[in-house]
């Protein structure tokens, strides 16, 4: 990548604003919301690397998110310092992705989607049965609980995810991944080791999703053990990536922003039916804006252009008649 001044200054400015944000943002409500925004950006960007760039639809993200949350929480509550516990959690997620990925990524199309969905179900059912009930933080942790370190943890995880994913997709490896998405057979015929790149994408994706899962376990004082395993964690990142724009770096970021904002507004104004409206919005986006918000300007231009051309053609037709 060539280093143009603009390319350095703008991200540096954004980062500076994000690091300074807690100084201006008073109140736990907003800080919590920003934390969940960062969490969503992380898991969606992770999904985007595998789903958006490599074209492998992973519907089992909750398993990777959840297993890391579980491991991190168990180790951390067991007395191990948080950072090693978090890394162990992410490692568990990576190991799971290798165990699942190497056989599953040989499958194509909907088989991979169904297989990962099954993994997510198995993980959910197993955890629901093995760990019934709620996990509470030990008292000494609750006494020192503050939002600020959580905010910075989420921020650092999110930034590292975005940086790593954008480095990967702009490298030769990213090119190989995109070629797999476009045409597996052609990629293979051109000498791309498709299984290798799929597994690499899967591992990177699960590592960051795992970090996010560990941060989730760090963030919450108490939650049901099975909560990080619910299927919402599979579909939310897909939804967010599609809202923003699939296969782009900015897509999951914009998507997560809109998602969190919409969810908050709907939950505040619509009450019980908010999920219903949400489903409708989701369907609308997939059907009419398959490229997401990123694709809206292009679509608009195309629409205007085509309309003009169409009307000219129609006029010509009328003249001929």
């Amino acid at each position: 990548m060539s280093l143009k001044p603009k390319k350095v200054v703008v991200p540096a400015l954004i980062m500076a604003v994000l690091f300074a944000l807690p100084v201006f943002l008073k109140g736990d409500y907003y800080l919590t919301m920003v934390c969940s925004l960062f969490l969503y950006v992380t898991i969606s960007q992770g999904w985007n690397l595998l789903g958006g760039y490599t074209g492998q639809i992973n519907v089992g993200q909750s398993a990777f998110f959840g297993i890391s949350a579980l491991v991190t929480r168990l180790l951390w509550a067991g007395g191990i310092p948080f950072i090693p516990a978090l890394l162990c959690g992410a490692l568990a997620s990576v190991v799971l992705s290798l165990v699942i990925g190497i056989p599953a990524l040989r499958l194509r199309g909907h088989y991979f989607a169904i297989g990962t969905l099954a993994v997510a179900w198995i993980a959910f059912l197993a955890v629901e049965n093995l760990f019934p009930g709620v996990t509470f933080l030990p008292g000494k942790y609750v006494a020192t609980y503050s939002l600020l370190p959580r905010y910075y943890l989420f921020l650092v995880i999110m930034l590292s995810t975005i940086i790593v994913v954008s480095l990967v997709v702009h490298s030769r490896m990213g090119l190989a991944m995109e070629s797999i998405r476009e045409d597996e057979d052609a990629a293979q015929a051109s000498g791309v080791n498709i299984t290798k790149y799929k597994v690499i994408a899967f591992v990177i994706s699960s590592f960051f999703v795992g970090l996010a899962g560990g941060a989730y376990a760090y963030f919450h004082v108490s939650y049901y053990w099975y909560l990080p395993f619910i299927l919402m964690w599979c579909f939310e990142p897909i939804l967010i990536t599609f809202i923003g724009g699939v296969g782009t770096i900015w897509g999951p970021i914009i998507g997560a922003f809109c998602y969190v904002a919409l969810k908050e507004v709907f939950a505040l104004t619509l009450g019980e039916v908010n999920v219903l409206i949400f489903g409708a919005v989701f369907i609308f986006i997939i059907l009419f804006f398959p490229k997401g918000i990123i694709g809206v300007p292009e679509k608009l231009r195309e629409y205007l252009f085509r309309k003009e051309k169409g009307s000219r053609a129609a006029r010509q037709k009328n003249m001929n008649v």
Binding site: H110, A118, I122, L125, L239, E272, V275, F282, I283, I286
Partner: protein
């Protein structure tokens, strides 16, 4: 002898699974639409027969034609509104988009169902609900017997319909090559529309039986899960195989409930699914590899 009783219940459960799954086998296996809202439709079917029983006093088995008609119309609307625009997509894109759209649909249907019918579990209890008869020393519920008969009739009826009639064959033709089928003079749009409606109306048969066990708005995803397992076990594109795959799953689940406890039956069936996916992704009962 106790294990034999488990097998009988397994066969009955398996027939219900197969009945739910057969519509999905048509819609996903042949038409290539990954419809996550399939289980939610079975749930609607179950509530319709519950309603008809509660308010009009119609027996759930006799109300099947009515609920089939209603679901057929809902299916037509669903296809027209949501899936028709995907007909010319490549298979991968079609599956991905239809999966996402139908997930949105699941959210909508579940919440509407909670608003209409509340989140409580309901069931239809008829005069013959708990009655059983003696089958070689084992208990066989009357409902179970009717379920098995219905499953055989519906599944093999659909199989013959798809193999022997012009309409059924044109569905196959469209699934193989959309453009070519169109050039051969098949009315592709209408055929797909009606095939989708048929797939949805078949869930009404399953719904009528589910309503006699237990129905609540959240059962949809569970049934989709079961149906997906069965469609994969049977092999994408195989209709007759759905029946055997359903029986296999039902029996394995109920026998495993006997051995490992009732909480892990879901895990057992999903592990079977993963093993099948890895070692025989074309399914047990399909001849050629599906992609």
């Amino acid at each position: 002898m106790e294990i034999g009783q488990f097998v009988i219940y397994g066969v009955i459960n398996g027939s219900i699974y197969a009945l739910v799954a057969v519509g999905l086998a048509l819609i996903m296996g042949i038409m290539g639409i990954f419809n996550l809202a399939h289980g939610a439709m079975a749930m609607i079917g179950a509530y319709i027969s519950f309603w008809l029983f509660q308010d009009a006093g119609i027996d759930p088995f006799l109300s099947i034609p009515i609920s089939m008609g209603i679901l057929f119309i809902i299916g037509l609307a669903m296809y027209k509104g949501l899936f028709a625009s995907m007909k010319a997509f490549s298979p991968g894109q079609k599956i991905r988009n239809s999966m996402l759209v139908s997930f949105g649909l699941v959210l909508i249907i579940e919440n509407v169902a909670v608003l209409i019918w509340t989140a409580n579990e309901q069931r239809v209890s008829t005069a013959y609900s708990g009655l059983t008869f003696d089958l070689a020393g084992l208990r066989m519920p009357y409902i179970g017997l009717v379920t098995i008969i219905l499953a055989v009739l519906v599944i093999f009826g659909l199989h013959l319909f798809l193999k022997k009639t012009f309409f059924g064959r044109s569905i196959w033709a469209i699934s193989q090559d959309y453009q070519c089928a169109k050039l051969m003079g098949i009315h592709v749009d209408r055929t797909m529309l009606i095939a989708f409606g048929i797939g949805m109306s078949l869930t009404a048969v399953a719904g009528a039986i589910i309503s006699q066990y237990s129905v609540s708005p959240s059962i949809g995803l569970d049934w989709v899960n079961k149906s997906l397992i069965i469609v994969v076990l049977a092999g994408v594109g195989s209709i007759g195989g759905v029946f055997y795959a359903g029986l296999l799953l039902g029996v394995l689940e109920s026998v495993s409930a006997y051995f490992v406890g009732v909480h892990y039956t879901g895990v057992v069936s999903l592990v079977i699914l993963l093993v099948i996916l890895v070692f025989r992704p074309q399914g047990i009962f399909a001849r050629e590899a599906g992609r």
